[in-house]
């Protein structure tokens, strides 16, 4: 029996499930293929927040805000609870130098209309009673620009809601071949362990693994795996009231930002940027770092040590709280820190939505909406030409 769909989405994590949901909702007969279980990729190996304040001013922040606004709508609309929590975020500055740099960033975002503001040491200590008392202050992002969701429940939610519009989900699916028309290069079908699936359109949402799917049709997709690690605490009292990040996070994410922190060689070498959040289950997530380790997501002891060391600088009481687990995952890194949300000129019917690095959860809802608009030939909500795949040619 040969199956046939209007669109086939590859990869059932935060981006793919959102894309599939939006296409099914728009009336396309849609299938989503996943080589493992739903949410078994990067979306179950990351943290849980969506922020505007970890983005560069411009399209990066604009997409973040659009997605955060959209999260509020779908949290209300969806039957499946993906643990949406408005949270607020504090970007803590260890020194006056960091505070000044954060103030410049804040001014730029304010000029674009985003309601961020700087808070001094005293106000920071009132907002976060357990934080170290000698910090310079923080950049505060209100709940309108900083929320949390369960990243893997988000994937289950999109599948659950998508099924109401006829979405079909194939897990443990191996793709062996993608067939193109010999003359036009038009997408024709996909060969899998479920048999041949006929379709004129495929969307590659395989995240850090998108290059492997790309190779099946000779496409070079410039995405690399970048490893991140988080530690999980025992269930404990709420040590923090907001998502907490150190301003040095910008350092670990963007190499264009040029300043040095006074940290130990281990913290430096491990590219640690402290971040902390509590989860609805009352565990704390303590992070984090970014390292290139190919696809190896084994936990590294030196990373655990360095994250703990850095975390104690900001929240000394963590010293007596227990760590029960550490986990790592790969984020799909693109050199210009922007995802690819695009069609592909050389292969009619081939689309890519991948390369969101640490923003896959944050950008998930809006990416799904953009991809439906691109496939339907509608104008996108705003100009996303910077996300075009053609920028690499």
């Amino acid at each position: 029996m040969c199956k046939e769909y209007d669109v086939v989405v590859i990869g059932a994590v935060a981006i793919g499930t959102s894309v599939a949901y939006h296409l099914a909702k728009a009336g396309y007969s849609t299938a989503i293929l996943e080589r493992g279980d739903v949410a078994s990729g990067s979306s179950s190996h990351c943290d849980a927040v969506a922020l505007i304040c970890d983005k560069l001013p411009g399209i990066d922040t604009k997409m973040g805000q659009a997605s955060i606004d959209y999260f509020a709508e779908i949290a209300d609309e969806f039957e499946y609870d993906f643990e949406y929590v408005p949270k607020g975020c504090l970007y803590v500055c260890e020194t006056q130098t960091e505070f000044d740099a954060a103030s410049d960033y804040c001014a730029k975002q304010n000029a674009d209309g985003y309601a961020l503001r700087m808070v001094g040491r005293e106000e920071l200590c009132e907002m976060e009673p357990h934080i170290a008392k000698d910090l310079a202050g923080a950049l505060y992002t209100p709940e309108s620009g900083a929320i949390a969701v369960s990243p893997y429940k988000l994937c289950f939610a999109f599948i659950h809601e998508g099924r109401k519009y006829g979405l079909e989900c194939y897990t443990y699916c191996d793709i062996t071949k993608i067939n193109l028309d010999a003359k036009t290069n038009q997408v024709e079908s996909i060969e899998t362990n479920y048999g041949t699936i006929k379709t004129k359109r495929i969307v590659n949402c395989a995240g850090a693994w998108a290059p492997f799917v790309g190779k099946l049709t000779g496409l070079t997709i410039p995405i690399e795996p970048r490893k991140g690690t988080n530690l999980v605490s025992e269930q404990t009292e709420r040590l923090c009231n907001h998502k907490i990040l150190e301003y040095g996070y910008m350092l670990s994410k963007f190499d264009s930002i040029n300043f040095k922190r006074k940290v130990s060689p281990l913290v430096e070498e491990q590219n640690i940027a402290f971040n902390l959040e509590y989860t609805p289950s009352n565990n704390l997530l303590v992070g984090g770092n970014r390292l290139f380790r190919d696809y190896d997501i084994r936990s590294e002891i030196e990373t655990l040590k360095a994250i703990s060391e850095r975390a104690l600088r900001f929240f000394p009481e963590l010293a007596d709280i227990k760590c029960i687990r550490a986990y790592s995952g790969v984020r799909p890194f693109v050199i210009d820190h922007l995802p690819i949300v695009s069609d592909v000129d050389s292969i009619p019917g081939y689309y890519i939505a991948a390369g969101h690095e640490g923003d896959g959860i944050c950008f998930s809802p809006v990416t799904g909406r953009f991809m439906e608009q691109i496939i339907s030939g509608k104008p996108t909500d705003f100009d996303i030409s910077k996300l075009d795949f053609a920028r690499f040619s």
């Binding site: 936990s299 655990l304 550490a326």
Partner: protein, 94 residues
Amino acid sequence: MSTELSDDMIVCRCEEVTVREIKEAIHEGARDIVGVKRRTRAGMGLCQGRTCEKLVQQILVQELGIHPKEAGTSSARPPVRPVTFGELAKGEVL
């Protein structure tokens, strides 16, 4: 293990997950220990599945008719037992 498990029995004590919830997760598409864990939190608590993993495996085997090996195990991740962040930072336990 071949005892009959009642649906109301708590399998994961740390997260208070029942046999019924695990069966529902399997019905929703979980095929292994990790799939059950992501859908129910079984094995995500303080003991990290030490107590319940074998029981979850038994339910998977019964419900799906698979070999225990196919149910897999939770990914092995440090620390092996809970240690404080203070101890971790000092490297005393590493």
